[in-house]
Symmetry: C2
């Protein structure tokens, strides 16, 4: 069965986005600092149709997280609300997300939303499907589409948190970036409860670079105790 996974760049003080997220600054103030490690890697550039870039452990990680993904799941904001498409409103059918005409997924993508919409096929193998009946349904559809490859819960943070809280993630790969954002959106808040159902984490792989510490955790059901 498909492994259900997610990966997030996270600041040393726990934020996956900076404060004051907006359509103009979807990562919030300073949020781009969380992604500087990846954008200059050879792995990231080649996946996005570019060339050049740095090789090394960060590049290897950038490639590894994208490898063998058979389907993606994402929240509606990550699909892109767009300036003409405020969150919560009905779909403007001319709005095809902010990933361009050839999005970097090349697989089916399941978008969590409250507004039904027909699938939107794009160039390069990406088709956006809109799921209105919740995270479990999206996962079921993604699993069926992935054909044994991995299902990637792409984000944003609230979506990853929902999957963690529901016990549906098998692993989460954190890229721990040594910056302090001081404010913004935290990935792991609100998940520790009475201790009975918290997710627990087991570090199964650690890759160090001078810029980032990459830690792959297996998510273990139960009381969140190491």
């Amino acid at each position: 069965m498909s492994t259900v996974t997610s990966h997030m760049s996270i600041s040393l003080d726990g934020y996956v986005a900076g404060p004051n997220q907006s359509l103009q600054a979807p990562l919030g103030e300073g949020g781009q600092r969380l992604h500087e490690w990846v954008v200059n890697t050879a792995g990231f550039r080649s996946m996005h149709g570019g060339s050049g870039g740095e090789s090394g452990p960060d590049s290897d990680v950038a490639e590894a997280v994208a490898r063998d993904v058979g389907a993606y799941i994402m929240g509606r904001k990550m699909f892109g609300n767009g300036a003409r498409h405020p969150a919560g409103g009905a779909w403007d059918e001319s709005w095809r997300g902010w990933w361009g005409e050839d999005p970097p997924f090349h697989t089916p993508v399941y978008v969590l939303t409250h507004q039904p919409r027909e699938p939107v096929p794009m160039a390069g193998g990406t088709t956006f499907h809109f799921v209105t009946d919740g995270v479990e349904s999206a996962l079921e559809q993604a699993r069926a589409a992935a054909g044994g490859q991995r299902v990637m819960v792409g984000g944003g943070a609230a979506t990853v948190r929902q999957y963690l809280a529901a016990g549906l993630l098998d692993e989460v790969y954190l890229h721990l970036v040594p910056v302090l954002l001081g404010a913004g959106e935290r990935l792991l808040d609100g998940l520790a409860g009475d201790g009975a159902g918290d997710p627990g984490f087991e570090p199964v792989q650690v890759i160090a670079s001078p810029r980032v510490t990459h830690i792959r955790y297996r998510v273990v059901p139960g009381p969140g105790r190491a």
Copy 2:
């Protein structure tokens, strides 16, 4: 010149102590989960006069952080307020801290406090000195006493945060424990400001174990940008 360092066990959601800290539970609820990795190591046990315990990377780290320390600095709560000695009150001279008659430091220890007190010599080479004129003065005295060995800012979190904010720490060694505490005291809150004076961190050593990821950061002055 002495390296000024600190090491803290920290939860995956950023806490160094659980909620509801009290004299009975100085680590807060669940806070002992942050230290389970160390108490069973051979390194920790032998330093505290015991024997046995597990060898391996966690044990090596436990030994490394205590090695070549020439002086400690700690907050008054870490020295131990004691049931008979509420914070902020005058010293009860019969109260000698909660580390026992042979504390595990074996060096001079500089305790930050607002109440002056004569030094308290203990067995095994530990002497508690009480510093009322601030973190820089405590550091100056600790450096002089350390004779070129390291100065360890032992805690608690507020004390470490003060030294980080003042730009006085050369390195901080985090032991990232894969548990969620959900509430409590965070180590790195309130340090990111306008970006001009934030501490920046550079990972210089990463040691992985199945229980904990140990990351040693060099603290770099400046805008906290990786």
